[in-house]
């Protein structure tokens, strides 16, 4: 009790590192020296200073901040800065859209070759790795002995957009597209996406295919 009181006084007098060591002594981590631990006192005062006691100056200072924002934003609305529509960063969503980063993970889609068939060979890896258990596949065989999914359903009401299916797929057959619209439905039955709804042509997905090749390429291992 007594020692604590002394320590408090000390810290009031000088707030260098040394004094903070003394007050912290019982709570120091033993094996770490103080110059490595680098504690930093953030509390300047335990009592209100006179400046803080007066309400008005700080209120005025706060109002200056908000008024500055107000004026700059008003100017930004009327005279937009170069290359932007307005100085604030809000995007008027349905009319304008964000430029999505390359990494963006939208709804999973199946890649369709140019002849209209899917790349998928129904190996079932995506079905296995999916943490939400939203993919179900039934494999079949074409006349040319090529395996393909006769039945590929993705339950969008379960999908968590984790991207594992894309990561494990050995054929680049399932990809996370950049589509994020129109996924909400009033009926859960509509959210069971059959194969036809999932297929997207190769050309549209070329960018994503390149990106996936890049990020999972050998140089990263």
């Amino acid at each position: 009790m007594n020692t604590l009181g002394i320590n408090e006084k000390k810290t009031e007098i000088n707030r260098n590192l040394q004094s903070s060591v003394s007050i912290l002594q019982p709570y120091m981590i033993g094996s770490i020296p103080i110059d490595k631990l680098k504690p930093k006192k953030v509390r300047k005062n335990t009592e209100l200073t006179l400046w803080e006691r007066l309400y008005i100056p700080e209120i005025v200072r706060g109002m200056v901040v908000t008024t500055r924002h107000f004026i700059f934003n008003m100017i930004g609305f009327v005279f937009p800065p170069n290359g932007k529509k307005r100085s604030i960063f809000t995007v008027y969503y349905p009319e304008e859209k964000l430029t999505l980063p390359d990494a963006y993970r939208g709804r999973p889609v199946l890649v369709m070759r140019e002849d209209g068939t899917e790349r998928c060979v129904a190996c079932g890896l995506c079905e296995k790795i999916c943490p939400a258990l939203c993919i179900s596949i039934l494999g079949g065989e074409r006349e040319n002995k090529e395996r393909y999914p006769t039945y590929y359903t993705l339950d969008m009401s379960l999908c968590v957009f984790c991207g594992f299916c894309e990561e494990v797929c050995p054929k680049e057959a399932i990809l996370m597209s950049d589509e994020y619209e129109g996924l909400a439905e009033y009926d859960r039955k509509n959210m069971l996406y059959p194969k036809e709804k999932l297929l997207v042509s190769e050309k549209k997905l070329q960018k994503r295919i390149d990106y996936v090749r890049k990020i999972y390429s050998k140089c990263n291992y």
Partner: protein, 160 residues
């Protein structure tokens, strides 16, 4: 293998209560008898060379098919010596109780309630041992290995 100071001291002091010690991947672990858990934790907290003042975590593990079936796991941390230790106390299924350590670390309050809630282990001496994450009226203990993943609970609520 060189024993750390915590395990050495524990072994010296409580050689009758210690069932096993090991330090897998550098985590000091002591498996102790559940009857002595209060004495051991008190010693760990108060001993000058140990001072495990933090109770970081308390949980239980269900080893279904092994005897004793449950293990209550305590993770302690010593601020002064910057060390961690894990204390495990096996609890058999027939006598699914262990002493509450709430008198030693108040932090154990909710953790013990949680372990009771999810594993059904009764902490003797806990002042307010009731379900915490689940609701009153939940049937069974969901983290036990014999609780099916897809099990459904009966609907509860006020009856009209």
């Amino acid at each position: 293998m060189e024993l750390s100071i915590t395990l050495k001291k524990l072994k010296e002091r409580f050689h009758n209560s210690i069932i096993d010690i090991h330090s897998f991947r550098g985590d000091d672990t002591a498996i102790v008898k559940k009857e002595d858990i209060l004495r051991i934790t008190k010693f760990l907290r108060d001993d000058e060379e140990l001072l495990y003042n933090f109770m970081m975590d308390l949980t239980a593990v269900d080893y279904l098919g092994r005897e004793p079936r449950f293990e209550v796991v305590y993770h302690l941390y010593s601020l002064k010596y910057n060390k961690r230790v894990r204390i495990k106390a096996p609890v058999p299924e027939q006598d699914c109780t262990i002493d509450s350590i709430i008198s030693i670390w108040i932090a154990a309050d909710w953790f013990e309630r949680e372990a009771y809630d999810l594993y059904g282990i009764i902490f003797k001496g806990h002042p307010n041992l009731k379900r915490i994450l689940l609701y009153e009226g939940f049937k069974g203990y969901p983290l036990r290995k014999d609780y099916p993943v897809r099990k459904r609970q009966p609907l509860i609520g006020p009856e009209n």
